[in-house]
């Protein structure tokens, strides 16, 4: 099974729109949303039925047993994250400030402090036809990269023998993005012709190259700045990155997407241009479109 990952560097360039359309174009049986901080592929890629939901435990956090705590405050003094505070004579750990280092469990003379598994998010798996794997990270949790790995393994384990899996990634170049890159066959970067679009494109290209991932680029809303589009194309040529096409800005496309329809379902020039990008992407993956 070939894995195609769709990234952008900058947010809001049309990554999920592209992913949802590629899912329709290819009638993909296997796909995943690895943007665990802000998953939204499900909004434009409807899947029938209910997903299996499972808890995701990222790391451990301190818990101080109020029955055993005598209020000495040794733990609060030892906590370098200032995560332990006193209320009504007993100490409690703040789940958002605690990093789970466990120093409180080592210093507490009364054995009141322990580490407990902390629910960091939920995993959702539609295990039918198609297989769709996604997740939601809880507020303030820092295990997004690990959760992305869990989303991808859930997808791979449930996947039927299919030729292609399509993965929607997250913006940026951080931990969840790096985690989404591992093991994919091609990263398609959807960018836009703006100063920040080009700037962030360079950052994601560099990140992907550190992890030796094959990349290709397309420009969405290219006619908003033909000059910047030309600059992006020149950059791709210089870096020897396959440039797979330009998709025009289309107000009717935006309207349809807001109604929950992928661009693939609307008869417009943007759809045709995106189909061309899809065809070239499949050819890079050696898959018959």
């Amino acid at each position: 099974m070939k894995k195609l990952l769709i990234l952008s560097g900058k947010g809001g360039t049309g990554k999920t729109t592209t992913t949802a359309s590629f899912i329709r174009f290819s009638q993909a049986q296997v796909f995943a949303d690895c943007d665990v901080d802000a998953p939204n592929l499900h909004l434009v890629s409807h899947v029938e039925g209910n997903p299996a939901v499972s808890d995701y435990y990222g790391s451990e956090k301190a818990w101080i047993d109020p029955q055993k705590c005598l209020g000495c405050g040794i733990c609060a003094d030892a906590c370098r994250f200032h995560a332990i505070h006193e209320t009504d004579g007993v100490y409690q750990a703040d789940e958002y400030a605690c990093e789970g280092c466990g120093v409180c469990t080592a210093v507490c003379p009364y054995g009141a402090a322990s580490l407990k598994e902390d629910k960091a998010g939920s995993l959702f798996l539609y295990d039918g036809n198609p297989v769709f794997s996604s997740a939601k990270l809880k507020m303030g949790r820092g295990n997004s990269g690990k959760l992305v790995s869990a989303v991808k393994s859930a997808m791979t384990e449930a996947a039927p023998p299919a030729e292609l899996a399509i993965i929607d990634g997250s913006p940026g170049i951080g931990c969840p993005v790096i985690s989404s890159i591992s093991g994919v066959d091609l990263v398609l970067i959807v960018t836009e012709p703006s100063l920040s679009g080009l700037h962030d494109l360079k950052r994601i290209v560099e990140t992907a190259s550190i992890f030796r991932a094959k990349t290709a680029v397309c420009v969405n809303k290219y006619d908003l700045s033909p000059e910047k589009t030309a600059e992006i194309e020149a950059y791709c040529q210089e870096e020897e990155i396959p440039f797979l096409g330009r998709v025009p800005y289309d107000p009717s496309a935006s309207r349809a997407i807001n109604e929950g329809l992928p661009l693939s379902e609307i008869d417009c020039p943007a759809r045709d241009a995106l189909y061309e990008v899809y065809r070239k992407t499949m050819s890079l993956l050696d898959i018959q479109p």
Binding site: E60, I178, S182, I210
Partner: protein, 117 residues
């Protein structure tokens, strides 16, 4: 004993040392190979350190890897392990290249991907 971090396909060298799903152990005396799951792959943090400890426990003295972070390198160096830079994609070719003395020692250790050394 030689160790190589492996990808999911159990054939190619993994770009990540700490979070590689598997590790290939090659015993240069018995010429036997063994592929083990990397217990550090699912670590909550400090995967590089844990993977390094795993290698030390397996009495590895040569590591062939694409990259290695600073924290892991400190453990490996304390255990006097030699670290060589992998070339190409698959582990077999790298074992052969090492045997022929064609691999270069890994000279750069990155500071990690979490903004702290």
């Amino acid at each position: 004993m030689i160790a190589v971090p492996l990808d999911e396909n159990k054939k190619d060298v993994c770009v990540s040392f700490g979070r590689a799903p598997y590790v290939l152990f090659y015993d240069t005396e018995t010429k036997k190979q063994e592929i083990c799951e990397n217990p550090a792959a699912q670590a909550q943090g400090g995967a590089g350190l844990k993977a390094a400890q795993f290698l030390v426990d397996h009495k590895v003295n040569v590591l062939i890897t694409i990259r290695c972070g600073q924290n892991a390198a400190e453990v490996l160096q304390a255990a006097e392990m030699s670290i060589y830079e992998a070339q190409g994609t698959d582990a077999e070719t790298n074992l052969a290249a090492y045997a022929e003395g064609k691999l270069e020692p890994l000279s750069h250790f990155h500071a990690g991907f979490h903004g702290k050394a």
